[in-house]
């Protein structure tokens, strides 16, 4: 195939996605007004698909911390962590993250994707074995594949499927790495971590949990699903992102294993990239303090999540298995989902469209992510807009 011919397939995908009027992958928010509102094509739009779970992107304390950092430390570090890019603030955030997860070691990466790539490619080498949840995020798949380790998938959130594979591995089960997510970002379902921890202990394996969508959302202190299920101390590696509830950009890994400090020396996605700018580190640090000191943010978030979930359900929409800040409506065929998503956008509600193969099964979904910053009126407006488009189904 000629070098550029391969893009013909991408052109066909673009054409299909644009068939309803707007390409869901190319929406531009012309002006951002608040964590939950923006202007799109001249329309005032409720943002219901931004993963801004706690609404901290416009928090005055976070903005103040970022502004102070930019004035005092400049706009960027102009270097990698291993060279000139480690400022005191990076190290302080790493200590704060470790404390937050009650683990001795913490490490900051420049993006959530880099955190997963950087952790997995350092931990796993050819000859190692990884058991990966079939619905895991692309960054987890990519990290496992780039490592060269043997990858076996188990059925999504299926403990018996995981156990069967551990049994089959025999001696190799000891030291293998189980990789899962806390909260899954399309259907809003949580991993059965209690059972997974039991298995990892039984077989002598290790467990990595990605809390990208659950940080700040689950658990008494907002640490995530592992905390909520009472097994945080048994997780070997907690990875996640700063780009959702923390409202910035970046990623992290926390661990009880001292070897995390050595990952710094061998992780290429950590070594060969510039470190996060001081303003990002400062706003993330402040957002972490907000998560700790303002549990009311989580209370509001869950109130909104419950209302949206129940509102959709009472209208007869098929929603995910659990109430969570991720509320996905199953619409079946993409021929239904695409006009539905376009209809929502044209009526001033921005959501996420998930169609196969990007969805976790053969169905298409409209995915909403709820925010603590959504007002009760905005939540009702989202529900009403969905109701007004039911005739498209």
């Amino acid at each position: 195939m000629a070098l550029l011919e391969k893009f013909e397939a991408a052109a066909r995908i673009r054409e299909q996605l644009s068939a309803g009027g707007h390409d869901p992958t190319q929406v531009v928010i012309d002006r951002i007004i608040s964590p939950t509102e923006g202007m799109v094509e001249g329309r005032h739009t409720i943002l219901a698909g931004t993963n801004n779970y706690l609404g901290l992107t416009f928090d005055p304390a976070c903005i103040g911390a970022a502004r102070k950092a930019i004035e005092e430390q400049g706009t960027g570090t102009t270097g990698s962590r291993m060279a000139n890019g480690s400022f005191a603030a990076h190290a302080a955030l790493e200590r704060e993250l470790a404390d937050f997860f009650q683990m001795p070691y913490g490490m900051v990466f420049s993006t959530g994707y880099a955190a997963n790539l950087g952790t997995l490619t350092a931990l796993l080498k050819p000859g190692d074995t990884v058991l990966l949840d079939a619905d895991a995020h692309a960054s987890l798949y990519d990290g496992c594949q780039m490592s060269g380790a043997d990858i076996f998938r188990f059925r999504h959130n299926d403990v018996s499927s995981l156990e069967k594979r551990l049994q089959r591995l025999g001696e190799r089960a000891k030291d293998c790495l189980i990789v899962t997510e806390g909260l899954y970002s399309v259907l809003g379902d949580c991993a059965p971590l209690v059972e997974m921890v039991k298995l990892k202990k039984q077989y002598g394996a290790y467990l990595l949990v990605d809390e990208a969508h659950s940080l700040g959302v689950y658990g008494e202190h907002g640490c995530g699903v592992a905390e909520a299920q009472g097994v945080m101390a048994d997780v070997d590696f907690i990875v996640g992102t700063f780009s959702k509830s923390l409202g910035a950009m970046g990623g992290f890994c926390a661990s009880p294993h001292a070897e995390l400090e050595l990952i710094r020396y061998v992780s290429r996605p950590f070594i060969f990239t510039a470190s996060s700018s001081p303003s990002i580190i400062a706003s993330t640090h402040e957002a972490l303090r907000q998560i700790k000191s303002r549990p009311e943010l989580r209370e509001t978030l869950w109130r909104n999540a419950n209302r949206l979930y129940e509102g959709f359900k009472s209208l007869g929409f098929e929603v995910g298995p659990d109430v969570s800040p991720v509320v996905a409506v199953r619409l079946g065929e993409k021929e239904v989902a695409l006009p539905f998503w376009n209809g929502l956008l044209e009526k001033g509600v921005y959501t996420n469209l998930m169609i196969p193969p990007a969805s976790p099964d053969r169905h298409s979904y409209i995915r909403c992510s709820v925010s603590a910053a959504h007002t009760a009126e905005q939540v009702e407006s989202i529900i009403d807009t969905f109701a007004s488009l039911k005739n498209l189904m």
Binding site: A134, C144, Q145, D150, I151, F152, R153, R168, P356, P357
Partner: protein, 90 residues
């Protein structure tokens, strides 16, 4: 293991036909018999999700575990039969 390569290929063909029928692939009828040369993606426009889902069914049906790395060059039913056959021989 007594299962011959032909038996494995035939069984994969049957599993594929059954999977395609359940997941609504109208081109199955026009394609006719599934053989070792049948290509999962170009003959049936299976997307990446469907290929992975089908592989999970193969794993359960043959009671094996397929390393994702071993699938890089497996495009046809015959390629898959080779991967399965090697795993059954281990």
């Amino acid at each position: 293991m007594n299962t011959s390569f032909d038996d494995i290929e035939q069984k994969i063909g049957k599993l594929l036909a059954s999977y395609l029928e359940s997941s609504g692939h109208p081109e199955l009828e026009a394609h006719g018999e599934i053989t070792g040369a049948t290509n999962l993606v170009s003959d049936f426009t299976m997307d990446s999700f469907q290929v992975m889902e089908f592989l999970m069914e193969l794993e359960e049906s043959f009671d094996i575990m397929i390393d994702m790395n071993s699938l890089a060059n497996a495009h046809t039913v015959g390629d898959l039969a080779k991967v399965v056959s090697e795993l059954l021989d281990e």
